[in-house]
C-alpha cells in the first residue's frame, strides 16, 4: 500500500465518500424526516432546520393517526410484532430443518441427493407471483389463509434454501477427519454432530440465519396476498399510511426507522460471528 501515490489515495477516498453518501443519504434523510411534521417535510425548498417532533413516533406507538380528516386507527405496533414473530419463527424452523439437511447433503452421497438440493435451491429462482395464485387457492382450501402457520410455512420458501446452501458449504469445508477423530474417541454420531460439526460451522450457521431473517423480514408479496391486517408484517402494514387525506410521510419515515432497527441491531450484533475466522488452524493440509 505504501506505493500508492497521494493522487490515488485522494481519488479513492472521494469515490468511497461518494458511494457511502449515495447509500447512506436516504437513510439519513428518512431519519430526519421521522422527526418532522408533514408540513416540514413537504416544504420547498427542504431545510435541515426544523423543530423536531416526536408526534410521528407517538402516533405509531399509540396506534392513533391524527390527520385533518379525523383520527385513524393503525396497527403499526401489531405489524411490527407480527414481523418479529413471523421472521423469528421462520428462521428457527428453517434452522432446525435446514442444518441437519445441509449436513446430510455435505457428508453423505445418496441417490437423488444433488437433485433434491437443487430443487430446494430452485425455489429461490421462481418469482413469488408465479406461485402465489395457486398457493392462495390451496391455502383457502386448507384454511391456512391469514394464519401465522400458513405464513411461516410459505416463508420456508425464502429461509430454507438459503440456510441449506450456505450451511452446506460450511460443513463441506470441515475436515471429516475431525469428526472421525471424535467418533473414534468413543462418541456417538449424534454427539459428534452437536459437539463438533455444529460449533465449527457456527459462524456459517449464524450468517445464514441472519440473512434468512433479513430476507423474511423484507418479504412483502407473500404477506400482502396471504394475510389480512391482523397478521400482516410491517412491510405490508406501511401501506396504511397512504390515507384518504394524503400520504403521511412523517409516519412512514418513523415506521421505516422502527422497522429497520431490529435487523440493523441484529446485524451489528452478529457481525463478530460472521468475521470470526473459520479455519482455526487445527488441520494441517
Amino acid at each position: 500500500m505504501e506505493h500508492t501515490s497521494l493522487l490515488e489515495r485522494v481519488v479513492r477516498s472521494v469515490l468511497i465518500a461518494l458511494i457511502v453518501l449515495f447509500f447512506l443519504f436516504p437513510i439519513f434523510w428518512i431519519f430526519l424526516m421521522s422527526f418532522q411534521t408533514n408540513e416540514d417535510i413537504l416544504r420547498i425548498p427542504p431545510s435541515l432546520l426544523f423543530t423536531p417532533t416526536l408526534s410521528n413516533y407517538a402516533a405509531l406507538i399509540t396506534g392513533k393517526l391524527v390527520s385533518t380528516a379525523g383520527t385513524l386507527d393503525i396497527a403499526f405496533m401489531r405489524n411490527l410484532w407480527n414481523s418479529v414473530l413471523l421472521s423469528t419463527t421462520s428462521v428457527v424452523i428453517a434452522l432446525i430443518l435446514g442444518v441437519p439437511a445441509a449436513y446430510a447433503f455435505a457428508r453423505f452421497k445418496f441417490r437423488l441427493g444433488e437433485d433434491i438440493a437443487f430443487t430446494l435451491l430452485s425455489f429461490r429462482f421462481a418469482p413469488p407471483l408465479l406461485v402465489l395464485l395457486p398457493l392462495s387457492l390451496y391455502f383457502q382450501q386448507l384454511g391456512l389463509t391469514d394464519t401465522y402457520v400458513g405464513l411461516i410455512w410459505v416463508y420456508q420458501l425464502i429461509a430454507l434454501p438459503l440456510i441449506l446452501w450456505i450451511v452446506r458449504g460450511y460443513f463441506e469445508d470441515l475436515s471429516p477427519d475431525i469428526e472421525y477423530a471424535y467418533r473414534v474417541a468413543g462418541h456417538s454420531w449424534w454427539r459428534t454432530f452437536t459437539r463438533i460439526a455444529i460449533p465449527l460451522a457456527g459462524p456459517g450457521i449464524a450468517a445464514a440465519g441472519l440473512l434468512a431473517f433479513i430476507f423474511c423480514w423484507n418479504n412483502f408479496v407473500f404477506a400482502l396476498i396471504l394475510a389480512s391486517a391482523e397478521k400482516q408484517p410491517v412491510t405490508v402494514g406501511a401501506l396504511a399510511f397512504v390515507t384518504a387525506s394524503g400520504i403521511q410521510y412523517g409516519q412512514i419515515a418513523a415506521a421505516i426507522v422502527l422497522s429497520v432497527a431490529p435487523t440493523l441491531a441484529l446485524a451489528l450484533y452478529a457481525q463478530r460471528y460472521l468475521v470470526e475466522g473459520l479455519s482455526l488452524g487445527a488441520v494441517k493440509g
Partner: protein, 364 residues
C-alpha cells in the same frame, strides 16, 4: 491370543482397488510398522480398522471380537490422524480428554490421566491452549496424547511424525518405542520412512501393490527381503540391482559383470542359466586399488562424503552404475579415477527376474 487380526480385507475406490485381500495378525503389545510408498493404501488400512471406512470384503477382529461393520465408537481403538485432526474449538486439555468423556469417567480421574499422559509427552504447559496456538510438534503430541490417554488395546498411528520438523522427528523416534511399549497397546504404526519403520517396529509389514509383500522383523526385512521391490525400499543408498545370468562352472556358479567373472556362493548353483537380478547393498562392496581375480575394474565417477561414511558412484567398463559406501570421514583418500570393486559374496542377494522373489541359497 492375537489382539488384532484382519482377514482378506479388500477395499476399492472409484480410482481403483487399494487393498486386495490383505491379512495380518498382531499379538498383544506388539508394534507393527506398516511401511510402504505413498499411495500404497497404508492409511486406508488404518481407517478400515478404525471403522472410518468400511471394507468391501474381509473381516476385522479386535481382541477376538469381529467388529467388521461396527461404528468407530464401538471399536475401542485409539487413533492419531496424520493431519492431527484436533478439535479447533477445544483446548488441548479438552482435546486429550475427549477420549475419556465418552465413557463416564469421573472428572478428577480424567484430569489425572490427561496430566499424566501430557507430562509423558511434555505438553503439560500448553494444555490450556487452543490448537491454533500450538506449534506443529505440540499439535502432534496432543494428537498422540489423545490416542494414548484411554489406554486402548489397539493403537493406530497414521504417520504421526510426518508433519513435524526433522529435529523433533529424530527425538520422537528415540522416545516413541519406549512410550509405546509402556502403553502395552498393540500398535499399528504407519510410516513411509524406512528408518522409522526399522526403529519402531517389532515387525515391519511392507505394503506394496495392494497387499503385504513381506511381514517380518526389521533385520530380516533388510537382510532377507522377500522381493527385489522390498529390497529397494529399505536402505540408503538404494540397493544396487543388476540383471545377471549365473553360469555353471567347475568352481561353482559365476556371474559376468563389467567384463569380469565373479563367483557366487555355491548355494546358487541351481540358478545357472536363469535370468536373475543381483542385489548388492552399497556397504557390501569393497573398493580396492589393486586388481585380483575376485574383483572387477571400475571407474570412480563421484565421491560424496557423508561424515561417517563416503558414498561412491562406480561405473563398470560396460557402463553399469553401482553405488558403494565405505566408512570414512570427510578426508576420504578416495579420488576419482580407476579402481577395483570386490563384492562381499555372502551379502549377495539374488532375485528371480520374472517374479522378483528372492532366491534362497540351497544348503550345500
Amino acid at each position: 491370543m492375537a489382539n488384532l487380526e484382519i482377514r482378506g480385507l479388500s477395499k476399492q475406490f472409484k480410482t481403483g482397488k487399494v487393498l486386495d485381500r490383505v491379512s495380518l495378525t498382531a499379538e498383544n503389545g506388539e508394534i507393527i510398522a506398516v511401511f510402504g510408498p505413498s499411495g500404497s493404501g497404508k492409511t486406508v488400512l488404518l481407517r478400515l480398522i478404525a471403522g472410518v471406512e468400511q471394507p468391501d470384503e474381509g473381516q476385522i477382529l479386535l481382541g477376538g471380537r469381529d467388529v467388521t461393520g461396527h461404528a468407530p465408537e464401538a471399536r475401542g481403538v485409539g487413533m492419531a490422524f496424520q493431519n492431527f485432526a484436533l478439535f479447533p474449538h477445544m483446548s488441548a486439555f479438552d482435546n486429550v480428554a475427549s477420549a475419556l468423556t465418552a465413557h463416564n469417567v469421573p472428572r478428577d480421574v480424567i484430569r489425572r490421566k490427561v496430566e499424566k499422559v501430557a507430562s509423558l509427552l511434555k505438553i503439560e504447559h500448553v494444555l490450556g491452549h487452543a490448537p491454533r496456538e500450538l506449534s506443529n510438534g505440540q499439535k502432534q503430541r496432543t494428537a498422540l496424547a489423545r490416542a494414548l490417554v484411554a489406554e486402548p488395546k489397539i493403537l493406530l498411528l497414521d504417520d504421526p511424525l510426518r508433519n513435524v520438523d526433522a529435529k523433533l522427528r529424530y527425538e520422537m523416534r528415540l522416545e516413541l518405542p519406549s512410550l509405546l511399549k509402556a502403553s502395552g497397546s498393540t500398535v499399528l504404526y504407519v510410516t513411509q520412512d524406512y528408518k522409522e519403520a526399522m526403529a519402531l517396529g517389532d515387525r515391519i509389514a511392507v505394503l506394496s501393490d495392494r497387499d503385504f509383500a513381506q511381514v517380518a522383523r526389521p533385520a530380516e526385512i533388510y537382510g532377507k527381503p522377500a522381493t527385489s521391490n522390498v529390497a529397494s525400499l529399505f536402505g540408503d543408498p538404494t540397493i544396487n540391482l543388476t540383471p545377471v545370468e549365473p553360469l555353471a562352472s567347475p568352481t561353482g556358479p559365476k556371474i559376468e559383470i563389467g567384463g569380469a567373472s565373479l563367483s557366487l556362493p555355491p548355494g546358487y548353483s541351481h540358478m545357472a542359466g536363469t535370468r536373475c537380478i543381483l542385489g548388492l547393498r552399497a556397504e557390501s562392496i569393497v573398493v580396492e586399488d589393486a586388481g585380483s581375480p575376485e574383483n572387477i575394474p571400475v571407474e570412480v565417477a563421484a565421491v560424496t562424503p557423508l561424515n561417517e561414511r563416503t558414498l561412491l558412484l562406480l561405473r563398470t567398463n560396460d557402463g553399469h552404475e553401482i553405488l558403494a559406501s565405505e566408512p570414512g570421514t570427510d578426508e576420504s583418500p578416495r579420488r576419482h579415477g580407476p579402481a577395483f570393486a570386490r563384492f562381499n559374496a555372502d551379502a549377495v542377494l539374488l532375485f528371480d527376474a520374472a517374479s522378483g522373489r528372492r532366491i534362497e541359497p540351497q544348503a550345500a
